[in-house]
Amino acid sequence: MNLFSHSPLPEKIPLSGSDCFHLVLDKHARKYNAGDNVMRIVFYFDKSLSKPEIEERLSHSALIHWLCNIRLVTPPFFRKPYWKYTDGGRKICVHEHEHAEEFSIPETVLNRDIPIDAERFIECDIVRYPTGRSVLSLSWNHILMDGRGIGMLVNHLNELDETNGLSPQDHFPVAEKRTGIYRYIRNMYEVKRFIQDSSRLPIASIAGKNAKSSKHFSNRIIYFTREETALIDQAAFKHGARFGANLFYLSCCAHAVNLINSQRGTEGDLWLPIPYDGRLKGSKGPVISNFVAYLFYRLTSTELLDVKTTVGSMNRQMAEQLKTEMSRKYNMLLKMMRHFPLWLYYFLISRTGEGNFSSFLYSSTGNNFNQVNHLFGMPVKNLTIYPSSTFPPGLTFSFLRHHDALNINIAYSSDILSKFELDFLEEKMRNLLFAGC
């Protein structure tokens, strides 16, 4: 019996503009033989997980079923790439691991790639520790979902008992509104001018000019207690981030990276394309697809004088870009570029900044996971997101709050950042977040 037979799953979902951008990043990673564009969310539990129970729970999700039975189609002749669903009966595979080091994730999990020709686009791992504790990891190719999407997927998994997983209408993107070609072209020139100016060389990247490939990615997670997080919130407000700490976090990252660049004698302007959730607020979907918009910050040495100045500058740049609707226009450009052959798309975007997409990468899930108290009825002790290992630049900060406690998962390439520099980066991040200096 087909569990989802009375709730048909969509057979064809076109990639969004941002999805296609990630497809190009995937191509970029393959070209440099570096990184994998795979994201992971890891839940920590005080008890041992049962593989049959997790498999049973996941098998009730129509969304998980869809993710296990799709393939990417990239048609010729300027047609948009899309996901093709065919019910091949494939189920999610739950991999089991035993690991000695408490709450450390085995490399076999962290290094597993999910390429664009993968059999399944979501993978599940359970890691058990000698203390009886365990973690559950879900991994997916970033082309399919953004951080907000996985937050909604977690809600969906937790609501399976109530909905039986049979209400997929919120999960998938709806048909797009058509836009006239004249408007597309006018926007394209406006955005092109803006991006060319914003990303003009020279840009200081943590990767440096000569780095061409990197396979050696690792993670360091910095945990803060609730009390420490409250102090960070106070510091954020004091330094000008009055409606949420996001710009303060980003500013602290920029200063820490700038200090490393200074030590190396490679300091210069930082260029930072930063994603933010483009869904309407309070919406329950879509889960599938990257629904992000981008803001672009260029930080000169004058704007990097101190954290407060940096937050002020980013506030102004954000307001200016929202005023001129640059984020919306940039998304229209990304939508249009879906029609380009991938090689042309890749050529066009890698020309800008001589192949450097950003000085470093940053994302924050805001409060999306703050109230995740349980998964499948089991209390969640902690959770973190492992960002995709994108190279260049080879350094990504991912901020997440859980139960009012902040953690930062830093994905870095050891070819880019030495152990000494990583220790320095952590020390500086702590100082900057607590005191802004």
Binding site: R242, F243, N246, L247, L280, K281, G282, L322, K323, G366
Partner: protein, 83 residues
Amino acid sequence: MDQQQIINDIRQYIETNILSGDIKINADTVLQDAGIDSFSIVEIILFIERKYGVAITDDKLVPENFRTLESLSLTVLELMKQS
């Protein structure tokens, strides 16, 4: 321009441009609880500047003034009187 008119204008802007279709707010709704984040606040500030021709000064950019439509409309009224 009275306070109720300002509340209606801003409510309509938020419900049409920022919030998901099924979410409705009133003068007392805590905007953050409805999903309004820092990016949305900037969009609301830009709308107020366009609509009423007032600039929200630095001393007014505090969370208390953006807590509800009620507090926000009082801030706009005060700025309109000053200008």
